[in-house]
């Protein structure tokens, strides 16, 4: 590689890293507790716990829906969801209107058997950490900005890989020159940690970027796929009397055999039309449990109106989520995820240190050159 090419890549690496450093540190630091948010919520008492029942039958979906409405008088249901990993809990989202903003929604957990209110979901200190991580309390603009920082991070990683060759070709793999200056030692650590974590950092970085586009993708799906699914019902008013949720669940299961209901959007909610329930179905393997399939059902009769797979871009979004969160391989994978996150913090911190140290080293040299030039012979 020519010296000029190395200089060019070095410049790309330096500036893409520097611009995104502060935000990447924020993302890594907030991401660390988020890996264990279930455990932290449980520890702090913010995770609703189901009651103990000896093999009792679960309440029907309509009974849960009634309990949710009774717990929040004057409001309407937007979603009811069933978590695969929490079979004893049903979660209900209520809002002031069917199309109410997500920030105005009240999310509560109910016991799946007794329908007793177990408490609010998604509250406590982890909510603040989550908001900092996803949009820095700046809404969609904050999300897109962090997505842009993620893209810079990806460019920094790629340019770092390109620079790895000229910087390490004279060294054995994993050499740390302990007898050299501190800057050189940190350069070796920076190169080693950076190159061994490159695949993970790139996957987590890019899946994070994809996640920041979630709302844009959903809007696109609603404007195209969902619009064509509900087209035959154009002009129909919102249902006066809703179909029983029990019927809706049974029919959705019949329409998607072998799948379970992940969540149901009520007519008018952002994930469906004003006239339809949308049941989002999931499979039972690690992969198919993520790839949801929407079944559209008439809001009044509960009859299946349409069923079709999500478009590729939404499937990519759904698959990108576990690859970003690291929550799909049990506690050992979470611990490894945390260790890799901590190593990324070291890479970012050492990169910043190397930049500062290089500037400090250059400053006296520049001053000396300037002084030499200034000494005009009398």
């Amino acid at each position: 590689m020519k010296a000029r090419t190395v200089r060019l890549w070095s410049m790309v690496h330096t500036w893409t890293s520097l611009i995104s450093t502060l935000f990447l540190l924020l993302l890594c630091l907030t991401g660390l507790p988020l890996i264990f948010h279930h455990e932290i919520d449980e520890l702090l008492g913010y995770a609703p716990q189901p009651e103990a029942h000896a093999s009792a039958a679960r309440a029907t979906p309509q009974v849960v829906a009634d309990a949710a409405l009774a717990a929040d008088p004057g409001r309407v249901l937007q979603y009811v969801s069933w978590d695969k990993d929490e079979p004893g809990i049903v979660t209900a989202f209520t809002n002031s209107a069917p199309d109410g903003a997500p920030d105005n929604a009240t999310v509560r957990a109910f016991d799946a058997v007794s329908t007793k209110l177990l408490g609010p979901v998604g509250v406590g200190p982890m909510l603040i950490v989550l908001k900092l991580h996803t949009d820095m309390f700046a809404g969609q603009a904050g999300k897109l900005f962090l997505g842009a920082m993620g893209l810079l991070f990806a460019v920094a990683i790629v340019s770092g890989v390109v620079l790895y060759w000229p910087f390490t070709r004279r060294l054995r793999f994993a050499t740390i020159r302990d007898s050299a200056a501190r800057r050189v030692r940190w350069l070796d650590w920076h190169n080693l940690i950076g190159v061994v974590t490159v695949a993970w950092a790139l996957v987590v970085g890019l899946t994070g970027v994809v996640n920041t586009w979630a709302e844009l993708m959903l809007n696109q799906w609603k404007a195209t796929e969902l619009a064509s699914m509900v087209a035959p019902y154009a002009g129909k008013p919102p249902p006066v009397r809703l179909a029983s949720l029990d019927d809706v669940v049974v029919r959705a299961r019949q329409a998607a055999p072998g799948m379970e209901v992940a969540f149901i959007a009520f007519p008018g909610a952002p994930f469906t039309s004003s006239h339809h329930f949308a049941a989002f179905m999931r499979g039972d393997t690690a992969l198919t449990a993520r790839l949801l399939k929407p079944v559209l059902l008439d809001g009044e009769t509960g009859e299946v109106a349409d069923i079709r797979a999500l478009p590729l871009y939404l499937q990519a979004l759904l698959i990108s989520q576990p690859l970003h969160f690291g929550d799909y391989g049990g506690m050992p994978l979470k611990v490894i995820w945390a260790a890799l996150d901590a190593l990324t913090i070291v890479v970012i911190g050492s990169g910043l240190y190397l930049w500062v140290a290089r500037r400090r080293k250059r400053a006296p040299a520049k001053a000396e050159t300037f002084a030499r030039r200034a000494r005009v012979p009398s």
């Binding site: 994993a174 740390i176 080693l192 490159v198 695949a199 992969l287 391989g329």
Partner: protein, 76 residues
């Protein structure tokens, strides 16, 4: 011919280990998603490999640095 093989050997020496680790990481990330419980075990080993390498380098250099025959100690 020699130049080419020397260069290839150099490329292998510098990039083989990082390349293998990257491939292992990607395999592990997908394994847990596609192969159920077995995939999870694969993921623990392969995604954890980079962490193990860093830990190994860290542990390996500590005795060298503080041991009785370390260059630093001899220098003193």
């Amino acid at each position: 011919m020699h130049g080419f093989s020397d260069r290839a050997r150099l490329w292998t020496r510098v990039l083989a280990a990082p390349g293998l680790l990257a491939a292992a990481t990607i395999t592990g990330l997908l394994a847990a998603l596609l192969w159920g419980t077995v995939g999870q075990y694969v993921a623990w080993v392969t995604v954890g490999a980079p962490v193990a390498v860093v830990a190994w380098v860290w542990v390996r250099r500590r005795p060298q640095k503080t041991g009785p025959f370390s260059p630093t100690m001899r220098g003193k």
